[in-house]
Symmetry: C2
């Protein structure tokens, strides 16, 4: 007894001793009526000070685990509330109880079935921001500013719709992007993903249909599938979605909604051209299909002229649901995104949000708000864009030099998209590269129809310049060898 006690890190010693004794009592190792060692004795056994044990015993007494006989010592109390000794226990097969939704969520979970990076691997799989760019001091200042203004309020329950100052700030922010706010409202969410999930939760129906770019954001594809949508993907070409194919598809059947990523599209990195945006909006009006717009990376413009979101182009119309987030631009750890849409729709989404998570962390929202209001976004974006632009250009240069692509796209953002010849297998390339310590995202996961085996996404935001150079050279050389040997029956062919 008392031999398995170990002090852990910073946690106060007296609490650790108390919890340790409590556990022995609850697990039946110390029985009711049993005398505990004296404080001096236990201090010696556990290698803590006597005062630590005195404090622990006092807490145990206050919590009803121990009683004291004056002049005699401390004894284990009888625990009327503890039923662990007598209760029956049994094992059940939880997997047999899981429904299709749970199984599907697991099957489509790329973190479980994707490639894993070993230590030291050069990984082009991430498009998260480079944390070395984070301006921690401004985040700390924002937190302390906000806590001193209304710390008590921030730590208590907030509102499902969101933290009012942030909502107002983001409404102004969208207004400055040219959005007509009349008849619209905003809902704060735990990032883009929750926003998208809430919208789909409200609009899904058996046999639901959605039209989108092909390839597209794989988390969006996952959630569309989890909500039972039939997905029609429309091929991309230079400048964005192929409008002729879009129109053909719209003519063939009705769609519940369209999902589009017009700026720095994931995974192709394309910015949809103004002409295509206009034509897209006209088509969607003609066929009366509302739009879910993914505002992904909109802020990461390195060059070229300004691009307005589709919801700005919709003017007073209420047919665009815009989902925004600063996760890729600022801090993904702060789980804050927003849905800007028709007021009536937001009214219902608010109730779904309340049933799911009550509200988004008020602390996250208030820190983001204060960070923004302090004028840090603009400063940070200048710094981040300079750095990412440099990396973008360097990655582009490396790809052009080394990779035997048939198409290379990416107008900005944090990644490039490579298309190889039709019969190329980038899963095979990945396997060969992984042996040489380099990984990337195989492009097929972004496709709606099983295609894209000949594509890959290169995320460069968190890779050093040196590793970008080395990694892309390895990918390129390996790909060239593979292309040289194509026709020898080595390649697995895509599903065309």
């Amino acid at each position: 007894m008392f031999k398995d006690f170990q002090l852990i890190g910073e946690h106060p010693a007296s609490i650790q001793v108390k919890d340790y004794i409590k556990r022995l009592i609850l697990k039946g190792a110390l029985q009711a009526g049993q005398k505990l060692p004296s404080t001096r004795e236990l201090g010696g056994l556990l290698n803590v000070s006597r005062n630590t044990v005195i404090a622990a015993y006092a807490d145990l007494e206050a919590d009803g685990f121990v009683y004291v006989l004056k002049g005699k010592g401390s004894y284990v109390a009888a625990l009327s509330g503890s039923v662990s000794q007598a209760a029956p226990s049994w094992q059940m097969d939880w997997t047999a109880r899981l429904n299709g939704h749970a199984r599907m969520a697991e099957q489509l979970d790329l973190m479980k079935h994707g490639i894993r990076a070993d230590r030291g691997t050069i990984s082009f799989t991430s498009i998260a921001p480079d944390e070395k760019l984070f301006d921690l001091d401004n985040v700390k200042r924002a937190f302390l500013d906000r806590m001193s203004v209304e710390g008590n309020v921030l730590l208590n329950y907030g509102y499902a719709k969101g933290y009012k100052p942030l909502m107002d700030y983001l409404l102004r922010y969208m207004d400055h992007k040219g959005v007509d706010l009349q008849g619209k409202d905003i809902l704060i969410t735990n990032g883009f993903t929750e926003g998208f999930d809430l919208v789909l939760s409200a609009l899904s129906r058996p046999g639901g249909t959605v039209i989108c770019e092909n390839p597209t954001h794989h988390t969006a594809l996952k959630n569309l599938k989890l909500h039972g949508f039939n997905i029609t993907g429309i091929a991309m070409e230079q400048g964005g979605i192929n409008l002729r194919k879009l129109e053909e598809a719209l003519e063939q059947r009705a769609y519940d909604c369209g999902y589009f990523v017009p700026s720095y599209h994931n995974p192709t990195g394309m910015v949809m051209s103004p002409e295509k945006r206009l034509a897209l909006m006209k088509l969607m009006k003609r066929y009366q299909v509302p739009i879910i717009e993914d505002g992904f990376n909109e802020e990461l413009r390195y060059s070229g002229s300004h691009v307005s979101p589709l919801i700005a182009a919709a003017g007073p119309g209420n047919h665009v649901i815009y989902i925004g987030s600063f996760s890729k631009v600022l801090f993904p750890g702060l789980r804050v995104g927003w849905v800007l849409a028709d007021r009536k729709l937001i009214y219902y989404l608010e109730s779904i949000k309340r049933a799911r998570t009550i509200h988004t962390s008020t602390l996250d929202q208030s820190i983001l708000y204060q960070y923004l209001v302090n004028g840090n976004l603009e400063k940070y974006l200048k710094k981040a864009k300079t750095e990412y632009k440099r990396k973008y250009e360097w990655t582009l240069q490396c790809c052009e030099e080394h990779i035997p692509y048939t198409r290379l796209t990416g107008d900005g953002g944090l990644h490039l998209f490579v298309t190889f010849p039709d019969d190329f297998d980038s899963r095979e390339l990945l396997e060969a590269c992984q042996k040489q310590g380099v990984i990337f995202t195989p492009g097929d996961i972004f496709f709606t129809d099983g295609r894209g085996r000949n594509t890959m996404r290169i995320g460069f935001s968190r890779v050093s310049d040196e590793d970008i150079g080395r990694g892309i050279r390895i990918i390129g050389e390996t790909a060239k060898q593979m292309i040289g040997s194509v026709g020898n029956g080595n390649g697995q062919h895509e599903d065309e």
Copy 2:
């Protein structure tokens, strides 16, 4: 033009000027090729310094909104990316597109259909903690401690399962409550509500059935209904659920799971007796029904001996899913809860969580972790329990003195539950009290079967001593008047 500009609060002036001009351009009020006022002139018009305008114009140029002709001035650029002028807009009826889930979430949303507190009203509707008790300095210290250790990591993406140090801490915490961790795992969620929603998402099926206490936590009822469960409520008696009725129900049909709130049950405030816990566990084993345990308020024990959670009583069994949260005990604004359950089940819940919200705010998790590890929970609980105990006893005394109840329950926690004579209508009481500036929660919302019109919940945590005294006197006097007039046909009878 330029007359509607107004500087807002702390946001840097040059950014506000930039955003203002940008907006005029995007909305078409400033046209391509148009000359902008000189910096001096615009400074005068907007009542800001010339330097502010210079900085704003420079940013507008960098972002492609403005071009400069040397010696001539600044001009509005042609925005190839802006389609707002030409795109067609249309209106659609979103409510017609909403599915049953969205409609039901709205209908069951008590924040929308509940009673609203006017300013100055004495409100007994809340059971949130009293924010005046919050120890802000320790929260600030926890934040700064954690940020200095790994701020960059905290602000980037984390893991769906949770922030590792917090997961480990909570596993130890549950181990100290006597839980056998063998074969179990933990998932961090955005509070109890998300944990419960995830579990139901994995286990729901058409015609699903659940058995629970009646009355019970209304948010749980809402989510059970949203997931399509048929709910069987079992009446409560002194010491908790009526075991005879529970057994009768279990005999009649199969249940997918049981949902129980064994400690400081919401709304009755009862702590299930050890005998009932043991008998409950035996019954659930006999009928092979797994348990979802709501760890609600378990920490708010004011007196009486220690009570172990059901999952501790289950020993090595894997048939209890425990959902915990510090929201009522510590800070609801930090949206952190956890699910402790069978390892295989958690594996699937993790994937559903990832699809819904990616992960819980790392900042919230890390602050909570550091706050706990600094030993603050124990200190805070001592302070909070002293204060809540005092309020609890005062409220109890007031209720005993003034309210004509037939049953008054609440062994601790932050609320009491009042049952009036059978034909009493507490909705009517509420209406009469609201006119006198006092509100409470009508008990019927907690019932599974439309009963409980003769009950109410009194939450006292956020009401001052003086208001508790005054408010309960008003409720009591009004209730006595109503009881005096019963039989005059005034009362609406409950659905028995």
